[in-house]
Symmetry: C2
Subunit: 315 residues, 2 copies
């Protein structure tokens, strides 16, 4: 299957770079623009360093890193970068005014066929597209970083996103190996963000209550719950934990689980509580080593993706 | 390191069998008692089938399956099974009266050196040990099943559990390759259970709100959040998601995450909502295939454990 979709990446920080790899791997022509001109050169070097590792782990669809690098070009004006683009992925700063401004420029400069997609995690698409002529072609696709190793992507349409736009975006993301999690309607806190937020709320609450240390919490996920969740979701986990499936699970354990819901609202992640949690992290990892540890994390995600692929291809 | 601890398993269902494997692998002598006499024979066959797979994946500490099987014996009376035991792991039905009764029998029958440990997920240890002479030697060690593949174990002392008991139990579990998550004081909802419960609450809530399908929820964990959580915990995840670490992460994203906390309490997992979630599961997996899928899940956990071991041994 050859894919000759022309894609524009607007903003080439960590998120834009990672999207670029997803799109290159799918065979797209990727055009890049960033308000900082040197950013594209930096990105090119980082991407060039990552692609061979993906190829070695059979995570590049059999494509050649050098070929993919030739499909990536940067432009000094947004207008040139948008020329002929069918799909635009925006990754600028997380400020609603910035999103509003860049989407207004898309409205003037992008072709009438272009789907205009924001990576934002913090704003619903209606917050920055309402007054645009192209608003029916705008939506959010929020990745977990890096999307070339983490397939799930929150896809969030605004009230005025057309059905055709949503369908085209979803089809394109699937073509790129992503798995779109489609929100039925926009709501602050997308699906993955809400699930992650509830996990955070409980982590901080447990530390504040004095019941567990921050390290215990991380361990209980990393050496416990997170193992199953890396290949079966929570509903399937529950379904497999009772002979009669999920209804039986809830009959057995539902009351207990129900009763431990905290009713006193969210707690503040600040003050001494923050000092304690940050103290745990800084003792394990000085800030000066955070970049190395991010690379280690991405290397582990890569190895896990290769492992999962090998597992799924078993009979 | 040779470990000659004599362990007694009381109740040899799925949990008891899994504990038996953990203890055998550590070199222990395991004595088994179940109120159903045939249960021990069934367990023996199941364990015999699992051990070679663990050995092939280098998950048996280099030990020989046949040797381990010789270290396992079943007894027809509880008294015999408890003879000389230093560590007793109880895995009977999840009813507080059952726990009270079996622990009363331990009080009469077990040696004065034995640590008496319950696998319960639903009861704090004080609920079934208060009136016992041996109550200072009782506590809870609640596994995620199966513990021989999932290291994290909730360790919960009662107000009267002695420090020595807690320390001996923790040291023994570590010797067996488990990672104890020690609650500072007993509280309904142990650490892993609370974290899992909050995840469930949000999963059901998202389905009820109409924002996502049950399948989308499972996918967003399995192909998204769960990937990172299989090797880094939530605090480390956040710490690595901002250049300045977790304090910087909260400064950037904390307000958004804080605002999406649900303030309307827990919802009921029943009625049409249950029909919808169960409908999703039964469409994917008929109940008649649930045992096969549980075996698949355990096979995947085994492969993941082998994968993680290989990753950690890299430089």
């Amino acid at each position: 299957m050859e894919n000759t979709v022309r894609v524009t990446i607007v903003g080439i920080g960590a998120i834009g770079r990672a999207w670029t790899i997803s799109f290159l791997r799918a065979g797209c022509e990727v055009r890049i623009w960033d308000q900082i001109e040197s950013a594209a050169d930096d990105a090119q070097k980082i991407i060039q360093a990552i692609l061979p590792d993906l190829a070695r782990n059979n995570l590049l669809n059999g494509r050649d890193p050098a070929d993919l690098m030739r499909n990536m070009r940067s432009f000094s004006t947004l207008e040139e970068a948008l020329d002929g683009a069918e799909y635009v992925q925006e990754n600028t700063a997380e400020k609603v005014e910035v999103k509003q401004e860049i989407f207004s420029r898309f409205d003037q400069l992008a072709g009438s066929n272009a789907i205009l997609v924001s990576s934002t995690s913090g704003f619903v698409p209606s917050a920055f597209t309402e007054h645009l002529g192209c608003r029916d072609r705008c939506l959010v696709a929020h990745p977990l970083n890096p999307p070339y190793l983490i397939p799930a992507v929150d896809v969030v349409p605004s009230p005025w996103t057309s059905r055709e736009t949503l369908e085209r975006a979803v089809a394109f993301l699937r073509l790129c190996g992503q798995i779109p999690i489609i929100m039925k309607k926009e709501d602050p806190g997308f699906i993955t963000i809400r699930l992650q937020a509830m996990m955070y709320h409980e982590c901080w609450r447990l530390v504040k209550s004095g019941l567990a240390s921050p390290e215990d919490i991380d361990t209980s996920i990393r050496e416990g719950l997170g193992l199953r969740w890396s290949f079966i979701g929570p509903f399937e986990t529950a379904d497999l934990n009772a002979p009669g499936g999920i209804r039986d699970f809830v009959a057995r354990f539902g009351e207990n689980l129900h009763d431990i819901f905290p009713t006193d609202g969210p707690i503040e992640w600040s003050g001494e509580l923050m000092d304690q949690v940050e103290g745990y992290r800084r003792e394990r990892l000085p800030l000066s080593q955070i970049r190395d540890r991010q690379l280690w994390r991405d290397r582990r995600l890569l190895a896990l993706a290769a492992h999962k692929n090998a597992q799924s291809s078993l009979p």
